[in-house]
Symmetry: D2
Subunit: 282 residues, 4 copies
Amino acid sequence: MGIAREPLIFHPGPKLVYRQENETRTVLGINGMRIGAQAVAVMAGPCAVEDLFQMRAIAAAIKPLGISILRGGAYKPRTSPYSFQGLGRPGLEILAQVRTEYDLLVVTEVMSPEDVPLVAAHADILQVGSRNMQNFPLLRAVGATDKPVLLKRGMMSTLEEFMNSAEYILLEGNSRVMLCERGIRTFEPSTRNTFDINAIPFLQRVSHLPVIADPSHGTGRRDLVGPVAKAAIAAGADGLLIEVHPWPDRAQSDGQQSISPDELEQLMNDLRAVATAVGREL
Amino acid sequence: MGIAREPLIFHPGPKLVYRQENETRTVLGINGMRIGAQAVAVMAGPCAVEDLFQMRAIAAAIKPLGISILRGGAYKPRTSPYSFQGLGRPGLEILAQVRTEYDLLVVTEVMSPEDVPLVAAHADILQVGSRNMQNFPLLRAVGATDKPVLLKRGMMSTLEEFMNSAEYILLEGNSRVMLCERGIRTFEPSTRNTFDINAIPFLQRVSHLPVIADPSHGTGRRDLVGPVAKAAIAAGADGLLIEVHPWPDRAQSDGQQSISPDELEQLMNDLRAVATAVGREL
Amino acid sequence: MGIAREPLIFHPGPKLVYRQENETRTVLGINGMRIGAQAVAVMAGPCAVEDLFQMRAIAAAIKPLGISILRGGAYKPRTSPYSFQGLGRPGLEILAQVRTEYDLLVVTEVMSPEDVPLVAAHADILQVGSRNMQNFPLLRAVGATDKPVLLKRGMMSTLEEFMNSAEYILLEGNSRVMLCERGIRTFEPSTRNTFDINAIPFLQRVSHLPVIADPSHGTGRRDLVGPVAKAAIAAGADGLLIEVHPWPDRAQSDGQQSISPDELEQLMNDLRAVATAVGREL
Amino acid sequence: MGIAREPLIFHPGPKLVYRQENETRTVLGINGMRIGAQAVAVMAGPCAVEDLFQMRAIAAAIKPLGISILRGGAYKPRTSPYSFQGLGRPGLEILAQVRTEYDLLVVTEVMSPEDVPLVAAHADILQVGSRNMQNFPLLRAVGATDKPVLLKRGMMSTLEEFMNSAEYILLEGNSRVMLCERGIRTFEPSTRNTFDINAIPFLQRVSHLPVIADPSHGTGRRDLVGPVAKAAIAAGADGLLIEVHPWPDRAQSDGQQSISPDELEQLMNDLRAVATAVGREL
């Protein structure tokens, strides 16, 4: 009679992703940067690459703040087929050009296994988005590259499922994976998603991989990005992914959750203080 | 100040999927079968194709019950990389052989755009699974074929998002799309998913496409499949997708939600009575 | 290291509520009516008692349809203190008067332990609402009466918690309890709640108590009440709770989910056919 | 046709709770303490009052840490009627005795309107628990006292509903209300609840009332309490409610989320650093 439920632990479980007793946490090296070490990494940029002018403006704004990873989407997974779908290949070329001009690392999303080589040729970090967290052919494809991967948690995925998806990548031989908490879907309508702050220390206990926080998608509201970014660092996050746009109100997507370069500058100061308080640096 | 939320309606909205005032609902023709008409369609078979012996056993069992669509997965999206991933191409060949031997239609899942031609060559209906409901390159790829598509709702996708995903397919020129409700993820642990019975009449009001119900995934418990299948027909479903296995306790996946051929035979009688009560037939 | 979770089964569990192996399901006798037996019970009426004229209109409408239980709220739990809070005691007196005039049974909500004697003096069935499912002093108070209790599931309560709440009532000596599924809170915004159709057969397996369905709150949309009511009966529900209002568009609360007496008459015919199809009657 | 939803804003809305443009946030005075001002308040103690020995041990442990508010439940709302229900009145007397002996303020839960005078006579702050957030008679009863109220968010309640519940209290004339975020129910099983970090800055923008965080219920895991407590302060919380027990493994309830006095001492140092980093003190 009683009450049944599927077992929560899949067997044998994500064994490459799990952290063994007393095992130290992994530090990823990316072109000289170290993610998961003392310094908290910041990745900033617009939701979508719109044109070269916009991307240069952002690169010029973040570089002096000590931010060395530029984000921006060339391929955009959009709920509606009528929404802006990203520039595609020209967007990648803009990213690559700005990367060279400003000496930045670039993280950008790849949506399909067949696009992996092209994206890998233009970017330093491959992002697998929330909607593709269980796109297993894509996970295998990025796992077969030598590029670091930023894996975003599905908005509907448990932490167990999240770690299993990372396991697909590690199993292909690519162990440079970052786990990114970006908010989950709940009943609460005031915010776009509910940022799962518990996930940060939980993942750090259970897995050895670095954990990144995305307070922009995690809140969906510009005015909450700062407080939640500070919270994420206080909880132990190894990095942040922040949407910034030179003109947020004119952004082609996600403008309501993008902050301006001026707001980012102020935020970086605040974040630095919190990082210091928890024994990290920025 | 107040409380913000993203607009629920995407603009211009899934206009090909929406039903216009007074528009009749669509009837899909598939090799002489008509889905969305008076008769409720039943699709039955195991979660995964395991071998020819198993598939012949199922085909031989469902054919005399008047069921003419056989389901079975050759490509299985699995949370863990260590779970059985399906037979792949040999699984498709088994499906195609049984299709010919028993004169059945076959529905099977395709997980990647590059597999679409191969799967389309072996099956009558292409299934896009829950985890791929927002795999937009895949939606475009099945939209470019002339095969009917069974699109399963994401386990944490709103009905608005579901219809937008269908819009991607229709926009490529393929209008033979069935919307499949298969349970959503909620806080309730007693059942694997919460079957969203409201979705059936809601989708039928808002969209002209046929609506299929999957009580097997919608409950995750063999003992609840029957009552929920009856409920789905009473609520107006145009078809059912039911997991049946000759030996449920030995199934390689989802055995706990599979019923036996004997149970299916009994269920078909019960379903027929309910269908008649709501002015349909089986 | 692994992943922890609170045990799902509380010990020793709701032992009075659980159904033992081979135990028959309970039939509640209420003034000659039998709930949980062959006949499906229908309880109908407005969300709130507004005045004598309205309640007489409803009573006159439902009586000829063979409906013998009238619902209506005198005490209304409302999210906002500025919303109509119900007539209170005068509302109870209207209910009692109409009960006598039309020879109907009355079910109405009680919100506070101190109101239990007053409500019990005017009604035949005490309703404990969703927001009070875990108001334990109230559960004990209704458990100490000799009145049948309609216990509504909390909108975000698990079935295990629901049964434990019923256990509080039975433990006080009152075993005439009906479990009412009325929809749960999920991420889906198209409907007010997600009616959990799985809960009906699940509760009937695990518990011996009758299970009632409330498709009005379960959908929140007038146009979905009929299909979901039919679904609930097909799934095995022992009764229905339906909001009906003589003038739904002028209702003081929940008008958007109330049907008219004419719609109810049509629905009763539809429900009768479904009940017959599953071996019940109406 | 389209997609309907109940309006998110209730009219006229919780006008006493909303913060007007340019309005400063409220500082509550409680016996000389000021909540909502520069200093972050910490309230600590066991889930349940067990005996005088236990409560003296806790009082003796927290007092030297600069913590001046002791928590402890005499009335415990428990899912199962077979779980420990609290000591009741003798528990209140223990609290009152320890309050005097150690010169601490006491916060404790009240579950029923009729218990309000008794609890108010023994405590400095009345707690309304999550399960009672929409127990409107109880809200009115605590609103009619002159005691400050700690209102916990329902585990299933939106922030809009939360503020409306506070409005019930303010409307009775009691404006000393603290809003306590304590985690919400989601699909994620790894943690007991999902702490909604977004709620802290959101409530502070929309309302003028102080916001308290409960990382113990918000995580349900002892090992996550510290990181989430730090996160809450970084996000701007005006206070913390922390479960501490002299012997967590022997606690009569919630032991798995209680920390020890030694852990609390270490945590207080960590929290002080974070408070300073965000311009507060502890």
